[in-house]
Symmetry: C2
Subunit: 145 residues, 2 copies
DNA sequence: CTCCAATGATTCGTAGTACGAATCAAAATA
DNA sequence: TATTTTGATTCGTACTACGAATCATTGGAG
């Protein structure tokens, strides 16, 4: 299963299709919650962790300067908060406020609902297998975040 | 496998994690190609089909007015083209130009490369199983788009 | 220890993105 | 035929995204 493998190409394609479907749902549901897709992504990433600006920007695939403004606006709305990072005097950590947690919870609910038509095409055994395979792709993270 | 099923929650979570990972990669690689994530999404959706503005907007989860400008700018850059829709005199179809096809091809290459670290954690059998399960979630579409 | 380059973050200017309201033409319905 | 609905666009406004410039802290090199 490597990049040059034609079998992997089909798999990457299928992952892409799922991703596109999910992005459509996320974009739509973010709009309902008065969030941009990017803001929703920020909330989702910060779900269970506190992160440095630079790491968050890398994870989002955005420039640091973009993230600065993004976090400032989210902070102004009370969704996230900043705190001086540990160790490095320059670093800044970001984390969800209670309001942010609640907004995320609403987003997660809507996302589950939006994905239901897809997920419900699988029976229990298939669902369990899919979950196991996806978990194998993220070995470093616990399964139930 | 329905929304209220706790087993489905874990699965939706895993799908969400994969989606977030893929979005980070897509955002980053879109930037490299001088495209926004949304523009890349447009190209990906139009990969093998011609679509009406309204349908494309729905698929993206965006307002029609947003899509108008988006397509206009993409058109100006030569990535897509408009044509009067069939049947309805008001409708407008959008489709990829050759330039758009090439930009998409570059994006697909980069995406495969970005997903490789994840995909390569699966052996061949697992990859085949995952592909089969994902294909089952999109029954109406051919497997090798 | 003292410079000095590298790093983490921010601000600024500019172009692109996204929304809703308003508008217009074609289509569907009464 | 008159009316409403639908597909698409334009406009104004706020947000998003980038790169360049800036500032402070850090970590080495000498």
């Amino acid at each position: 299963m490597t990049t040059t493998d034609p079998r992997a190409d089909a798999l990457v394609d299928a992952i892409g299709r799922l991703t596109f479907e999910a992005m459509g749902a996320l974009t739509h549901l973010a709009g309902e919650l008065d969030l941009s897709l990017t803001q929703l992504r920020v909330l989702g990433i910060l779900r269970d962790r506190r992160m440095r600006m630079a790491d968050l920007a890398d994870y989002l695939g955005l420039e640091r300067s973009t993230l600065s403004g993004l976090v400032s606006r989210a902070e102004k709305r009370g969704l996230v908060a900043r705190a001086p990072g540990t160790g490095d005097g320059r670093a800044v950590d970001v984390y969800l406020t209670d309001v942010g947690q609640q907004a995320l919870a609403a987003g997660l609910r809507d996302f589950a609902q939006a994905m239901d038509p897809l997920v419900s095409r699988l029976d229990e055994g298939e669902g369990a297998t899919l979950l196991r395979l996806l978990a194998r792709m993220f070995p470093d993270e616990s399964l139930d975040r």
